[in-house]
């Protein structure tokens, strides 16, 4: 019974993806995509590190925005986690994390402009929502027993610190470190909308075909993420956090009138601003829905479904790369394992946005670059986690080998955790799908970007709101499916 439900759900999702595949635009329109890819590869093998001044600046800014953003997000998230039993807090957190950091950045750009605060808040706000949820889950899982034996009259803070926190501490720290890695990716990507981070230079070098600079930027970025564990030490963290705010750069000064104008004028729907009242509002909304929101939603759903199944397939193909049951445990196996590990690190540490941007340059605009980018990044993450999970399984001495071991032994045993992870990332995939529209793929982000380019924030805000609701909807659906299939899901679903 258990199994058939899982199989049925999986098949239904796959079938749906095939239908979507038939409806989607997956054409390669570039004239000579492989020559372009060749040039990129040549850039990666011959990186030009000579433009040291701006490379260094880009790296410092990328780190600074990540540290300040994630630090502020973690602090706020921790406070919210303590209040997570309140429905209002939970709803607020679900809402703020349903809006992608690039959308937050686009919003803040309208009134803080090119000031560091734009980048910091764009990371801190959605991260606070995510931190709150995961911290609350981790704290919930800690044993309540110690808090019962704490003497009466101990302060609430002391009680929390010595019971729940001390137990949950390793998990909290691991998770926060993981989010710091995500924060670096987010920070780099914020450059695409004008923050002075890696993405800023990457976009312009790419646009001008300076592939040797692109190569240098990409390699620096991988280096940064690959060595994270070496230089992010608990002892050094306070130092980083203290230094980071000073390394954000000056940007341009904020005019506070712009902030109030944004809230009292810019985002008020046009018919209301013109004094047409509700009578004018309805046709305005209707037009927005029919012309932009619905096509955007349709394409977002289509792309999400294809990307979800592609992610799943790729993850199932990739996990043996880091599974000891396939690489072997002895010296040569370790090397193979390390290689496999390296491949997955590169796959998962490239932000989807960046990958999609690169593939779009190579293949031309269609959904194909987006599907491939989403599958590579998310497949890399899930493959890594499933591989790790497989290492906890002990096989019998007479277990089958090779393809039989994969198909009949390990994959069936790992399928439950695999699905749980995939459903966990469903919402994340959809959030990214929407944002990829900014690159020119006709998802919701495309229409948000158009509205912003037309300086119509009233429309942009409604479209962003719709995107957020869609994400929340998928999150609820994924949770229902997990419950129906009795898949355990906990904070440990995130690497």
């Amino acid at each position: 019974m258990w199994q058939s439900k899982t199989v049925r759900t999986s098949l239904a999702l796959a079938l749906l993806a095939i239908v979507c595949l038939a409806l989607a635009d997956l054409q390669i329109s570039a004239h000579d995509p492989w020559a372009e890819l060749g040039r990129l590869m040549q850039g990666l093998t011959h990186p030009d590190f000579t433009a040291v001044d701006f490379l260094g600046k880009a790296i410092v800014r990328t780190l600074a925005f990540a540290f300040v953003g994630v630090g502020a997000g973690a602090a706020a998230g921790l406070l919210l986690a303590l209040l997570f039993q309140h429905r209002a807090v939970r709803t607020t957190c679900a809402f703020i994390r349903a809006i992608h950091e690039l959308f937050w950045a686009l919003i803040f750009l309208q009134f803080f402009g090119l000031h560091p605060l734009t980048g910091v808040l764009a990371i801190a706000i959605p991260y606070a929502g995510i931190f709150a949820k995961v911290y609350a889950e981790i704290l919930d899982e800690s044993d309540p027993q110690p808090s019962k034996v704490i003497p009466h009259g101990s302060g609430m803070v002391a009680a929390l610190l010595y019971s729940r926190f001390s137990q949950a501490w390793p998990h909290l720290a691991t998770y926060t470190a993981y989010r710091l890695e995500c924060g670096l990716r987010s920070s780099a990507v914020l450059g695409f909308v004008g923050m002075p981070t890696l993405g800023f230079y990457l976009e312009s070098s790419f646009a001008q075909g300076h592939y040797t600079t692109v190569g240098a930027l990409l390699l620096l970025f991988y280096g940064l993420i690959g060595t994270l564990r070496l230089w992010v030490r608990p002892r050094l963290l306070p130092l980083y956090l203290l230094a980071a705010p000073f390394l954000l750069g000056d940007g341009l000064p904020i005019r506070w009138q712009s902030v109030s104008r944004f809230f009292t004028e810019d985002i008020v729907p046009e018919p209301l601003r013109q004094g047409e009242g509700v009578a004018g509002l309805l046709p305005w909304l209707g037009e927005l829905l029919v012309d932009e929101a619905l096509p955007g939603i349709w394409n977002t759903l289509l792309l999400t479904q294809i990307a979800l199944v592609a992610t799943g397939l790729l993850a199932l193909l990739l996990y043996p790369l880091v599974s000891q049951h396939f690489t072997g445990r002895h010296a040569s196996g370790r090397i193979r394992g390390a290689l496999g590990h390296g491949v997955l690190v590169v796959l998962r540490s490239t932000p989807e946005y960046l990958l999609a941007f690169i593939l779009l340059q190579l293949w031309g605009p269609s959904m194909l670059p987006a599907v491939v980018a989403l599958a590579i990044h998310n497949g890399g993450i899930i493959g890594h986690l499933v591989g790790q999970r497989s290492n906890a399984i002990t096989l019998r001495a007479d277990a089958p080998r090779g393809i039989e071991r994969y198909a009949f032994e390990l994959t069936p045993r790992l399928y439950g955790p695999f699905l749980a992870l995939l459903f966990y990332r469903w919402e994340i995939i959809m959030r990214e799908t929407a944002i990829l529209g900014i690159l020119g793929i006709a998802t919701l982000g495309f229409h948000v970007d158009s509205a912003i380019q037309e300086i119509r924030f009233d429309r942009a805000m409604i479209l962003i709101l719709i995107t957020a609701l869609l994400n929340i909807g998928v999150d609820i659906l994924a949770r229902r499916l997990r419950n129906r299939l009795r898949l355990r899901h906990t904070a440990s679903c995130e690497p």
């Binding site: 630090g71 309208q110 009134f111 720290a173 909308v193 646009a207 306070p238 956090l241």
Partner: protein
């Protein structure tokens, strides 16, 4: 660790704000990112140096990533002067009361859009907007561009009586004029529309293979790029500052500087000269 973190943050965050207040404000300008960035950076750094000499104030050029970002920075008073396109200038001046167009390039009084086609389309030079274009792929420049979006869309609608999305099998937004040229030259898109000065610049610089792509139609003329300044600069930088900026712009005669635009010189202009752009913007529902 988290306790330490909690101690650090309240100190660190206000510092963030403090750094921004302390800096004295220079005269800042920006430009729409309509071309390759290195070229823009080079061009406008020269302009910044020139203006600093002429006006005897600190002048800073700030690059932005989109047309809307240029308008927003102008509107939020983070920049006081901008080199806008026709449409972005109208968008900006509508939102900043008192702001005015100061100067346009000699060429901008009679600007044009070129429609270009890849050789594989079989379209002849000067073929016009013909029925044979139907179902081909087509790319505009940036969404907020006058010569790369507004005017070409206007003339496409006039010729075909339909939205571009109905006429072509695929409609893209390349982002800027240089990219439109290279996308059509490579065949990634069959057709494209772009700023004619960028086209001629790219041809001259040898960035394009003249055999693989040709101009199939040019639009009638319309007013385009202009320098626009905020109305409140006189209060901040002294009486008559806007006029001095205008004189400095009109007096720009260094051939090297002008060539980087490329313009043969700058001439005075005022807000009313862009009325036609505003009307087309409203027709296409890009302006409210």
């Amino acid at each position: 660790m988290l306790r330490r973190l909690a101690r650090v943050l309240p100190v660190a965050l206000p510092l963030l704000f403090a750094t921004s207040v302390a800096a004295a404000s220079p005269f800042v300008f920006t430009a729409i990112p309509d071309e390759d960035e290195t070229r823009l950076q080079e061009r406008f750094q020269k302009v910044a140096d020139y203006l600093a000499d002429e006006l005897e104030v600190e002048v800073r050029f700030v690059p932005v990533k989109s047309y809307a970002a240029a308008v927003t920075a102008f509107r939020n008073d983070q920049v006081q002067l901008a080199w806008f396109g026709g449409l972005s200038g109208v968008q900006a001046r509508e939102r900043v009361p008192g702001s005015r167009a100061l100067a346009q390039g000699v060429e901008d009084a009679e600007f044009r859009t070129y429609f270009i086609a890849h050789e594989s389309t079989g379209l002849e030079e000067g073929a016009g907007l013909v029925e044979a274009m139907r179902d081909m792929t087509f790319t505009f420049g940036a969404k907020g561009s006058t010569s790369g979006r507004l005017m070409p869309e206007h003339y496409l609608r006039e010729a075909f009586g339909e939205a571009p999305e109905e006429v072509f099998s695929r409609v893209g937004f390349s982002g800027n004029h240089s990219r439109t040229a290279s996308l059509v030259a490579s065949g990634a898109y069959q057709l494209g529309a772009l700023n004619y000065t960028v086209w001629e610049n790219e041809l001259e610089a040898g960035n394009l293979d003249a055999d693989s792509v040709k101009v199939v139609w040019q639009t009638p003329t319309y007013p385009d790029y202009q320098w626009t300044i905020r109305g409140d600069v006189d209060e901040r930088f002294g009486e008559g500052f806007a006029d001095r900026v205008q004189q400095a712009l009109l007096g720009m005669d260094d051939p090297e500087l002008l060539e980087s635009f490329p313009r043969s010189g700058f001439i005075p202009v005022d807000n009313a000269d862009y009325e036609i752009i505003r009307q087309v913007g409203q027709q296409l529902d890009i302006l409210d």
